[in-house]
Assembly symmetry: C2
Homo-oligomer: 430 residues x 2
């Protein structure tokens, strides 16, 4: 299935209208950015770049799509013909996937004819708004977990395709694994998971269920011990698996005291190496609240895939400059208050002092001179319509994860606070 | 692309473990339901059924999926062989799509061998949790709009495939149109949309942009009048299009006074038939707040596709009964407090008095006798693996929309309150 109709009707009707005087070819620059961070957040995490680039590469109107557009009279026959030959031939620069963003950061800059640059607006926003919302929440959870591993278990709490994107975004932000098999296959993310309550309920006893699971998956598996009574469940688990049992999972109850009691019980049973994983409606605050509890790993669902209260990253895609028809550039911006856009081509730099980020500096029109400015944030992602292969697939995803670790290490320490506050560094236009 | 890997790893490892003693074939009944409604909501709207049934019909493990499962050692070779031949052969009953649900309503009941019934858990939950969250929010917006038409414009605020599902869910709950072209093609939903601010900014003047749009789309089009100054924008729009202009769209500012001023200005210019559509970060509360303003239609984005504060409907999928191996049924349920499940096969009925719903009656094990009980809520959706064609595609979507209108008309009037409160009718197990 092509990605070409995953768009708003108005992208095509604008092309229809622009086509009449050739204005659809006018060189244009669009920027994708967030006007602000979700309330109280200190930073956002750029995610979606690799997915967007794959969708952009495959953005074609096939016969079925063209027939439908013709039949529905969405656009004129001339525009249908234009779309039949459509392929993106422009330039895309952007923040490296996994990098951080702040209010105004131009994290994707699309340059091309008006038609080819505007037509990918909706798709770009869908991808970046969702993926970045998940990655931004995930990064806070990783910080709260303080080194202990996290797994995405949220597939069932978001649309079935968004689930795959969420697993990828979480992995970029530092999660170690996902329950989602398609995310494992498509993006190379380690997958995990063993059994649900239904498996225990299918058997005549918890003991029988544990035995069946161990027969299939070995004693290194994770047994879910809270179907009936947790204390009995733990005792049964160790009786059946022996002290080499890999882990127990707790999915209900008041986690801090429960985990402490289970740890003591496991140790008393000699299962000192058996790990405890918890999975009950966690978010970054609940994870932080368990810092002093003997939890070994976390499984996170709803809060992760719904951006922990900020489910859409609030990004917009705005025309900031176009050719004037005589070879020069015109900076443009919407003037309505509250939604004003800074026009002009931009060159963003993260200014660092002693390796610590101090400012998101956005040079408008005039790029900075020399290296003293800081870390230049835009990299080339698409040249003349050809997508940078390094950003794609499992390898691109892993690269984004590694870059994220580098970028987040540049933040001042207070950026890791879960409390509400301003952006960790100010955005300054120069 | 098959839907078979859009699932959690543990669904397959449970089959792996159950396969060893043949328990994977044990007849099982799973229920999909919400333990509670999102805080303060009066009802939920069932959406996703038609989408789920299509995904269930196409749920097959192809060579590529099997190779990956084998290569990654997700399950044993015997289980890979089992999955190679997999097709759902069981029974599915459910609430008609578009119907309402309340805490505990068993809105999908899947019956089959344990393996075939458990393996669709994640996929079913992904679909119903997202689609129902959107439909439930949409229904409140429709109620708040008090007869004025609503359009979904939220594609850019959710994952690119979720956007298509959201458009469908909103349509079922009473929205009239969507901006999403794929939703138009796949589900037969009317599409709409004309131009963004970028189109105006591309031109040398607002007047030039309006003229270009009218040349392409006719004077019946909708002109976006707030790129620069709204009063000037409206004056320019009517000057260019004449008083036959179809509509103006306002996407910023303080809507109530702005809309009143624009209406007065349009009327003074003789454009008494020109409609006003507003699209600025609306939710059900903002829509209700505009009831006395001369708004003609609403475009809703973020709040719609993110469930207006309740982005996942909180549905779960639980084993409630299985065969005991001797031909009898065993009712089962998880016992942990807060997450307890009522075991047993159920027969839900919406009890009506004078056509008004008064109770969600759930008969456990013993179905009700006679018609006095009310409206029986479960219909057959899949028989022996064969999906009811009437629930699928554009026709099924339209049927769901019609059924929704009937079901919501049964609710007591206070259910339409946007204020927080209890479920509109109590759920009673009998």
């Amino acid at each position: 299935m092509t990605s070409a109709l995953l768009t708003d009707r108005y992208e095509l009707t604008m092309i229809d209208a622009a086509l009449r005087d050739g204005r659809h070819r006018r060189s244009s620059v669009f920027e994708l950015f967030a006007r602000r961070l979700p309330a109280g957040r200190r930073y956002g995490v750029v995610a979606g770049t690799g997915r967007f680039l794959e969708l952009l590469r495959d953005f074609r109107f096939g016969a079925a799509e063209l027939d439908w557009l013709r039949h529905e009279n969405v656009v004129s026959p001339a525009t249908v013909d234009f779309l039949a030959d459509f392929r993106f031939t422009g330039q895309v620069h952007g923040y490296r996937e996994g990098d951080l963003y702040f209010p105004g950061s131009p994290l994707l800059v699309v340059e091309g004819g008006f038609a080819e640059a505007v037509v990918v607006e909706t798709l770009a926003l869908s991808v970046f708004n969702y993926d970045s919302a998940v990655a931004s929440a995930a990064a806070r959870m990783v910080s709260a977990a303080d080194g202990r591993p996290l797994a995405d278990m949220g597939s069932r709490r978001t649309g079935e395709r968004s689930a795959v994107a969420a697993a990828r975004a979480a992995f970029i932000a530092g999660f170690g694994a996902t329950s989602n098999l398609e995310a494992g296959r498509t993006w190379g993310i380690p997958t995990m998971g063993t059994a649900a309550h239904a498996f225990t309920l299918l058997h005549d006893s918890e003991e029988q269920a544990f035995q069946a699971q161990i027969d299939a998956l070995g004693v290194g598996t994770t047994l879910l011990v809270d179907t009936y009574d947790i204390t009995e469940g733990v005792a049964t688990a160790v009786r059946v698996a022996g002290p080499e049992l890999g882990a127990v999972r707790i999915d209900s109850g008041d986690l801090a005291p429960t985990v402490a009691a289970v740890r003591a019980q496991l140790d008393a049973l000699g299962a000192t190496g058996t790990r405890i994983t918890v999975t009950n409606d966690l978010d970054e605050f609940a994870i932080a609240g368990l810092r002093s509890a003997p939890v070994d790993s976390y499984g996170v669902g709803t809060a992760l895939v719904t951006g922990s209260g900020a489910v859409a990253a609030g990004m917009v895609y705005k025309l900031v400059a176009h050719h004037d028809g005589a070879g020069g550039w015109v900076s443009v911006g919407k003037k309505s208050e509250a939604k004003a856009t800074v026009g002009g081509r931009k060159q963003p730099v993260r200014r660092l002092v002693d390796g610590v980020a101090v400012e998101e500096t956005i040079y408008v029109e005039d790029p900075p001179v020399g290296a003293e400015a800081g870390r230049a944030l835009l990299v080339e992602l698409v040249r003349d319509g050809v997508v940078d292969e390094d950003a794609l697939g499992a390898a691109g995803t892993l690269r984004a994860r590694q870059h994220h670790a580098t970028a987040i290490a540049e933040l001042p320490i207070e950026a890791q606070s879960l409390g509400r506050g301003d952006a960790a560094i100010p955005t300054v236009y120069r």
